[in-house]
């Protein structure tokens, strides 16, 4: 009895194998779309422009001292200067690094996958604006599961419906947290 128990021990009785495949995973040898160096330069330029815009606006608001102490624009003005300085330094550091082989920012296969989430998310925000969050949520989950995840249609529709319904009950009914709503909710008088 004891010995058999000891032999059993390493392999647990309820051992459960979990295997998840990822058929649409990005290939490792996919070509690079853009290098990190280039993106770094672009980001630094954008930040520099932002720093200039905000700096100018704060200068206009008043960035000096008056009788009661610093004016409203004082603190943010100098922060814009610091931000500008940091991005300028980053730009100077990134320029020579770009000529040397800097790392890949994103490969083509990765970009495809990232866009496969980003574009639906963007559409979701747009639909939320017009049809309300719950309808948009149903559409996003069902379409994403079906089209990107290649999951059976009935599973996609059921999951989307259940999740949306749970969210509605939790937020709208139980916790009184009101979400943007559209014509569908209005038709049901909520």
């Amino acid at each position: 009895m004891m010995t058999s128990h000891l032999i059993w021990q390493p392999m647990s009785q309820t051992d459960l194998e979990i295997v998840v495949d990822d058929p649409t995973a990005p290939e490792d040898d996919s070509p690079s779309v853009v290098s990190s160096g280039t993106i770094e330069i672009v980001v630094c330029l954008l930040l520099l422009a932002l720093a200039a815009t905000l700096g100018y606006d704060n200068w206009r608001t008043g960035a000096s001292w008056d009788s009661t102490g610093p004016e409203p624009g004082y603190f943010p003005f100098y922060l814009s200067v610091i931000l500008g300085g940091g991005s300028l330094y980053g730009l100077i550091m990134a320029l020579p690094a770009r000529r040397a082989a800097s790392g890949t920012f994103v490969t083509r296969a990765q970009a495809r996958r990232v866009l496969a989430v980003f574009v639906p998310t963007l559409l979701f925000c747009l639909v939320t604006q017009f049809l309300g969050l719950y309808v948009a949520s149903f559409l996003l989950i069902s379409c994403f599961m079906r089209l990107v995840g290649k999951i059976a249609l009935w599973k996609s529709l059921l999951t989307a419906f259940l999740f949306t319904a749970i969210m509605f009950v939790t937020f709208d009914v139980a916790f009184d947290v009101i979400m943007p709503k559209g014509p569908l909710e209005a038709a049901f008088g909520r």
């Binding site: 051992d15 194998e17 979990i18 295997v19 930040l47 610093p70 979701f124 925000c125 994403f144 916790f175």
Partner: protein, 505 residues
Amino acid sequence: MEAFGLLLHGFAVLLTWKTLVLMMFGLVLGIFVGVLPGLGGPNGVAILLPLTFTMDPTSAIVMLSCIYWGALFGGAITSILFNIPGEAWSVATTFDGYPMAQQGRAAEALTAAFTSSFIGSLVAVLLITFLAPMISSFALKFGPPEFFAVYLLTFCSFVGLGREAKHKTVISMSLGLLLAGIGMDTVSGNLRMTFGSAELLRGINFLVAVIGLFGISEILLTMEERLALRGHAASISLRVVLGVWKDLPKYWATLLRSSFIGCWLGITPGGAIAASFMGYNLAKRFSKDPESFGKGRIEGVFAPETAAHASGTAALLPMLALGIPGSGTAAILLGGLMVWGLNPGPLLFVEHKDFVWGLIASMYLGNVVGLVLVLTTVPIFASILRVPFAAVAPMIVVSCAIGAYAIQNAMFDIWLMLGFGVVGYIFKKIGIPLAPFTLALVLGNRAEDAFRLSMIGSGGDLKVFWSNGLVGSISTLAIVLLFWPVVDGVLSRVGWTQRTKVMSP
């Protein structure tokens, strides 16, 4: 011993059915969030924050902090079983945890991970219990110059001690401070940087930014990876648990060392990630046979997990005592305090005793309940991973949108969240750290107010930051930390420090 009596009072606050149910709910959600790819501690807390808006502050913080403890526990499950660190601070746990699982010792590794997490948190909570009231009563004497000096110290130590390129930390921090300034100026009431937009009048809400920066960007990043996995979910028998616990005293030095490292790095902005690596490296260095690390040694699980949890918990100390968060998650909890109408800072200990001691008591109770919960339910949570990411990803997006909208009932915030998602994705990929940005965004207005109030008090004389011993030493320390790499270089050239080599893992 006053702390002890107050702690008992905290337990009394906590022991109602409603709070206990919320606690369990929070822990389960937290483990769920910790196990799922593309979500983690800060994201989970940020997304679920809106659920708490209508609760009283004590229930709300108990639930949110339990989500955090749950997420800390959950991260270890995927690291050990599947070699996929759910969180950056669980990376070091995979070094020995995954080999152990491959040798059929998964249950042992999981028990070790959960137990050491528990020990790490416990040490940090003890520290909070006795140190936080002392610090906060000391800080009650602080005026605006002292507070500004402390904020400055926080910001400077991020720049000086952070491991990212310095200019990137500076960019991240100044951008956060600038965005915090958008909208109505709290001192004069003037509008700043709104460019005539009515939407920008409200300012950029910290939580909206956090949901985008961590939630949305994490989904984009996760999609870049191959999401296939293979492994065994072992259930843990009582025999294994007792076996591991019986051996615990042998590893007291490792546990103590890692707890200490974790507490220290949690209070200073080193964070749980640095703590877990340092705990691991030091355990290896002090070991008699360092070669056996990385091949399935139980100490290699104890060391990083203890340190990560001690650090994650200790990060709440400065938040409670001074109103300065020690980590991203602590920053989000701080944002929560403001939403619930509490004013973070040393006065919390005076004005909201129930809240503070309820929270501290929940750290004790939450960790005990969490430990029992994870030990008994590992296979259930591991099988969550069977749910395809194509189903999880859109649900996370919807949850993020709900969270972002609920904060101010503004559609604009959903768009803002999406924008911050893109920014977070790009920043993470080019190495601009997000933690300083988050910290700056949540502390920006308070830091500026403190600065301007001290300037008004002193008539515009910067010498006010060196006007007495206390504020002077904090300000000086801040400047020293800002230029720490330079100072450190000079010191080691003179032959003063060898210690620094050990400090950086």
